[in-house]
């Protein structure tokens, strides 16, 4: 059971590694690349804390192996603020009390990034439906939903819509 090569582009940067096949993409990001913004809450696909974009689609990184991401483009929460400046969605989380401990936040941000890209004007119901795959133990979700709707409005304003 030798190691396998994998080459993954993460937040625009290509990384090649030899890894055990059983290494999940989440552990690859955290342990091989030291990108610890991607969190692991359950490691069996329930909590959504580990959500990243794989080729632009929200994916649970605890349910995918790093060898499967060979040739893929991955975006993690670190990729949302590449120059250290908060994205519009991140700023909206801050302004609307969308986080307390922050454990669930990376997954929430990634899931909502995908939603807002596809639906620039989501209803509250659509936001809540998108968030069913992300659990939060702290906020009661109200602040997160408010942040998503606020961010959508700010982004629409910015694009002149």
């Amino acid at each position: 059971m030798g190691k396998k090569p994998t080459r993954v582009t993460v937040n625009g940067k290509s990384h090649a590694r030899l890894v055990e096949a059983r290494l999940t993409l989440a552990d690859f990001l955290r342990h091989e690349l030291a990108l610890t913004g991607t969190h692991l809450g359950c490691e069996h696909g329930v909590c959504g804390a580990c959500t990243v974009l794989v080729d632009g689609r929200s994916t649970r990184s605890c349910l995918m192996f790093a060898v499967q991401a060979n040739g893929c483009e991955v975006t993690t929460v670190e990729g949302l603020a590449p120059d250290g400046k908060l994205s519009v969605l991140q700023q909206a989380f801050m302004d609307n009390h969308g986080l307390q401990c922050g454990f669930c936040t990376p997954g929430m941000l990634i899931t909502l990034t995908e939603l807002l890209r596809e639906k620039p004007d989501p209803s509250e119901q659509q936001v809540r439906e998108a968030l069913t795959g992300n659990l939060c133990r702290c906020t009661g979700y109200a602040g997160i939903v408010a942040a998503a709707l606020d961010a959508a409005q700010r982004l629409r304003g910015a694009s002149g819509a």
């Binding site: 396998k4 059983r22 696909g45 689609r57 349910l63 060898v67 499967q68 995908e114 795959g133």
Partner: protein
Amino acid sequence: MKPAPFDYHAPRQLKEAAQLLARLPNAKILAGGQSLVPMMNFRYVMVDHLVDLNGVDDLSGIGVGDGRLRVGAMTRQRDIETAPEVARHCPLLAEALRHVGHRQTRNRGTIGGSLAHADPAAELPAVCAAYDATIHVASVRGVRQVPFADFCTGFMATVLQADEMIVAIDLPLWRQGHGHGFREFARRQGDFALAGAAALLDIGGDGAVRRAAIALFGVAASPLRAYAAEARLVGQPLDAAAIRAAATAPWLAEPLSDIHASAEYRRHLGQVLSVRALTDAARNAGVEVPNIV
């Protein structure tokens, strides 16, 4: 919460995949991984070899022809959910998919994986039951076609042999203008359903039912076709009384019972959800019926 070590194989061609499955002991197929990988992380499942079908050509795609919708086994659930030909020809399938897991799991999860896993609470097997789908199964011995009625053999068990893989699913098309309904009850959106019902109705110009299919899930070890209820509907004018009578036909003898719901509660849910799915199907076929439950 880390899987036990295994050897990883990523075939590019179907033939190669079939040969690997025939040759390797204690091997499993990796499709979307949304059910298998959790079980591997828990070490409920420990394999020596994982054969990843994600890189195999020609296993995904959606096509319409010869009176059926054909879906490749590795087609992602999200791609089926949003495909225009599915919305047009098999709206029941698109509707059911909105209830399958969450957006993040549908982005990776596949139709073939869901059928092979055969969870009693899963939506896709119920849709296949309602449509009388044909499952195309491949191995080194060739491709065989299995009617969905013969596919499930018990609780999370199917006719698939260890070296076989699903390659495609055919859903026979219903007449344009047919109605569909899909209802399930889960404690939260995306949770496993306690019970659910899928319904298809073809209603003639005279208002009489020409064809009906009702499939229940979450109530038995595998999806249950309500043949007795269907037989009651066919040939009759569709109204509230007919729907009510169909949904109370005695086809739910011994529903599952577990910590989530008692048998009695599941029987109740099965009836209520059948009524609602049939009501939706009637309305989608252009027949107005009042709300019953």
